[in-house]
Amino acid sequence: MSPALIALLPFLGALLPGLLIRSGRTVAATACGTTTFVALLGLLLHIPAIMRGEVITARFEWLPLIQLNANFRIDGLALLFGILILGIGLLIITYARFYLSRQDSIGKFYTYLMLFQGAMIGIVLSDNILLLLIFWELTSLSSFLLIGYWRHLPAGRQGARMALAVTGMGGLAMIAGMLILGQIAGSYDISDILNAREAIQSSPHYTTALILILIGAFTKSAQFPFHFWLPHAMAAPTPVSAYLHSATMVKAGLFLMARLWPVLSGTPEWFWIVATTGLVTMLLGALIATFKDDLKALLAFSTVSHLGLITMLLGFGTHEAAIAAVFHIINHATFKAALFMTAGIIDHGTHTRSIARLGGLRKLMPVTFLIGTVAALSMAGIPPLNGFLSKEMMLYEVDHLDMARQGFMVVATIAALFSVCYSLRFIVHVFLGPQRDDYPHHPHDPGFGLWAGPALLVVLVILIGLFPNTMAGWLVDASASAVTGQVTESDIYLWHGVNNALIMSILAIAGGAVLLSMHRPVLALWDRTPRPDAKTIFDWLVLRVVFMGRALTDALTNGSMPRALAAFTLASLFAGGIAWYTGSAGPVTRPMLPIEPIAFIGWLMAIAATGCMVFFHRIRVLALVLVGIVGLVVSIFFAYFSAPDLALTQISVEVVTVILLLLALNFLPKRTLTETSSLHRGWDAFIATLAGLGFGGLTYAVLRRDFAFPTISDYHLANSYKLGGGDNVVNVILVDFRGYDTFGEITVLGIAALAIFALTQTLLQGRSSKRLLNWVHDHRRAGDRHPLMLVIATRVILPISLVVGIYIFLRGHNLPGGGFIAGLVVAVALLMQYMASGYAWAQDRQGLPYHALIGAGVVAAGVTGIGAWFNGKPFLTSAYGYFKLPFLEEFELATAMGFDLGVFLCVVGAVMLALNSLSRIARKAGVTVNTRPMDIDLSDEDQPKEAN
């Protein structure tokens, strides 16, 4: 099976629980299990090839420009971790099915779990460090979801947040480190990086890259001083702890160190940072674990300690130490996952994980006792179990160190001693001792489903211990070869004869047993010793970071819009100024056009209206009139400078905009009060003047120069008729050359109209609806709201303007016009009816739903575009032809007309829907609904009969 498919399978599997959970929990679990099993099988099928020393790869180009490629590889190391992730994943899926209660939504759990599994598999199979980083972040995110799975528990949420913060921060550091590494190696492919050892280690950036990558690895693998998040993550359901925090996620850091071992290790920096961190972590974790009361906390700190052990071995940088590290990864995964599941079973059976409340479970839970004892003995390093083998190898490597040998020997032995102590404690304080009668819940052994997984692991613990070379030797060889890059043939023995390692081991076991016998007084001493609490420090830090972040946000955005806009304007001016003075605009090449009187009059009007606008904007109706004047001058400006389409569009938009603003003004205050000091206004005027000078200056500079680059407009002019079949080049560009843009734009226009409709819907409900119902109009109404003259005039105009609209639409392809303008003209024609006779009267007389118009418009444009597919052309390619109908001249039909029809419908729908929304507000506010076309009643029969 392709490595890429193996990495993809869990992600596909993540979709299944959501689809299948209605069929039951078992079905969902089976689906996830089957997916995992298939992936595992696919992986195992590669074993023969990997044993021959081959590397299986799959390469896909993703973003080749930044060298981010979906390259996957399976070598011995990937195989080892893949088996751990998928194999233990399979057990966890089974275990979780029986562990989670009916109240827990198990589908969600399985989805998170499969996502996490996919991310982990992605990490170990990646052959590109950028791809690896993506999966790395995915594990942080998915583990956040898993740790916080019981979201009703504050501890779960806090633990999840802490884990995300710490591992996420480490991930950021690692991204930087990986980028440096890739830059040095000249490639982001792991295969290439592994060949660039010389270049990397001699680079001046080696130490920086090393430290950054190690921060990522240490945070993920809970190494000192980042170890504190792991115990808090124990708030997760036990299957999560067993999976993430023993077998997989915390091993991702180790995996990374092992993966990059050939290029990073072997330097003094590597030794001192990695080996020392590992040693300190090993000691500290074992020490704390000895005194923890919570079973899972004990296991969590023990995990920290064992991860430290493996880190230390990797830090030694020797071939043999790497073998020991790999072997211990296997062994730790087997016994620790079994122990976590045992802890879960005990929690399940007794409803407590507090060691102080347990003891004497031996008879009550015999199966659990057996499983837990074997696993714990292996953790203690008692022969002939597998934990003994790798611990011996570790002590042996410590004994053969070149640097700081004695120091490491002493500390490692002490750590081993504590490790024995807490392992035995797990057996003695939980299972042995007198049976009690105050368990929170009567203990009993669980069903087969719960203990099957740990039992299988414990069998492995024994078998690997007895037959290490048969059971695990091949896997150790394959992965150690991949880690070190040298062919490895390990030979693991139970009995090495009497050597320093054995003596250290015996010292540790004896010391651990003695320490356990004195546990009570030592615990009392421990409790009295002051220690820094990592969580308090972390919370203190987070609080300050949050406060600073909020303070910065508050300082930047204080809710004042003018301030933000002024800052934006000044920043734009500043950036524009820099661009102007650092760039070169080229020489002035275009002569000035002569000023003609009509243009000068237009200019005078614009300047006068703009000036009045500034001075009289407080009188809002007047300001609207002035806006209208400026808009008109702009339309004339377009018409004057050879843009008839723009002129038509601008003038019709102008009408619609002013009507809309007028309707809104109906509700808003009619005057703006002076609220600012003259100094304030002076400052605003200063900014405005700067902006005006800048923008005007820029316009002038553009106008006096020719194009800096050859324009593509010549192509449009040359091909408008040939390719698009139209003479109006602007229209052909809209519906053909740049039809995609237009399609997007009518969609946006439709969305804007729907947003207005939605806003209105909210206004018509809740608090604002009550305000509207009690609305007091602040100005007197005209007595004649629907004047006779206006009604008659608009009725006469309506058919004419509709015909004009259709005419403009039809001729648009060859003469100024088109869907946009026609839509606006028709909308204005309809609007006039509404203005003349009131909304309700007009609405009753037309049956077009505006939402549907918008939808139909977008669909018509889209369908026209898709039509091109049937001709084997890309989306929105137009075709045209000439047709002859009887009695009519020959005329042209282009598919672009269908598209333009879409534009037309969308524009009409959007404009009318916006108006519709305003009028609904008006009616809610108590504007009387008229049922007659005009205020003056012309009919005879409805006249009230006068009494004679």
């Binding site: 806090q158 609080l543 949050v546 909020r550 819009m561 003018p562 000035m592 002569p594 003609e596 614009a606 300047i607 703009t610 606008m613 500034v614 609207l624 806006v627 400026v630 808009g631 702009v634 004057y640 400078f641 050879s642 843009a643 389409d645 723009l646 569009t649 601008q650 938009v653 905009t657 603003l661 509700f667 808003l668 205050p669 605003d684 405005a688 902006a691 000078l693 005007g696 002038y700 106008l703 407009s713 002019l717 040359a718 080049v729 602007v730 809209l734 740049r738 843009d741 734009e745 226009l749 207005i756 806003l759 209105t760 604002s768 305000r771 509207l772 003469l815 946009f820 606006l824 507000i921």
Partner: protein, 133 residues
């Protein structure tokens, strides 16, 4: 002629910027409308000023010597005008909604209306932290 166009665009921009710096919604809407004019006109002028040569083809002959103004900025500005209308409509409705809902048409958001009101001391932050925990 260029100087007239440039100065008018500059003046309209200045008025628009002045108006968007006001404290009431209606003035800001007006200011945005003014800015729309200025920007659309500016984009249009990137095709340079050409009189009486609209981009309507007079001949289908490729070798004809007819000269036209630049059609591309026109096409882009045409949709920009329509979109500006959509934007103005949405903004007006938001202003109206805010006025009906809130009772005044101030553009600034008072501190107490903010989803996350400003924190005075670190104890405020702690309190929020404790509440969410």
């Amino acid at each position: 002629m260029e100087i007239l166009v440039a100065s008018a665009i500059g003046a309209i921009t200045a008025a628009g910027v002045y108006l968007i710096l006001r404290l009431r919604t209606f003035a800001v809407v007006l200011g945005m409308t003014m800015l729309t004019y200025a920007i659309n006109a500016f984009l249009f002028t990137s095709g340079r000023l050409v009189v009486d040569l609209p981009p309507i083809l007079l001949s289908h002959d490729v070798d004809s010597n007819h000269v036209y103004t630049d059609p591309l900025p026109q096409a882009l500005v045409l949709t920009a005008i329509v979109i500006s209308f959509g934007m103005t409509a949405v903004v007006v409705m938001m202003a109206l909604g805010a006025f009906i809902e809130g009772g005044d048409d101030h553009i600034n958001m008072p501190d107490e209306d903010r989803l996350m009101p400003p924190l005075k001391t670190i104890d405020d932050a702690k309190q929020i932290e404790d509440e969410t925990a």
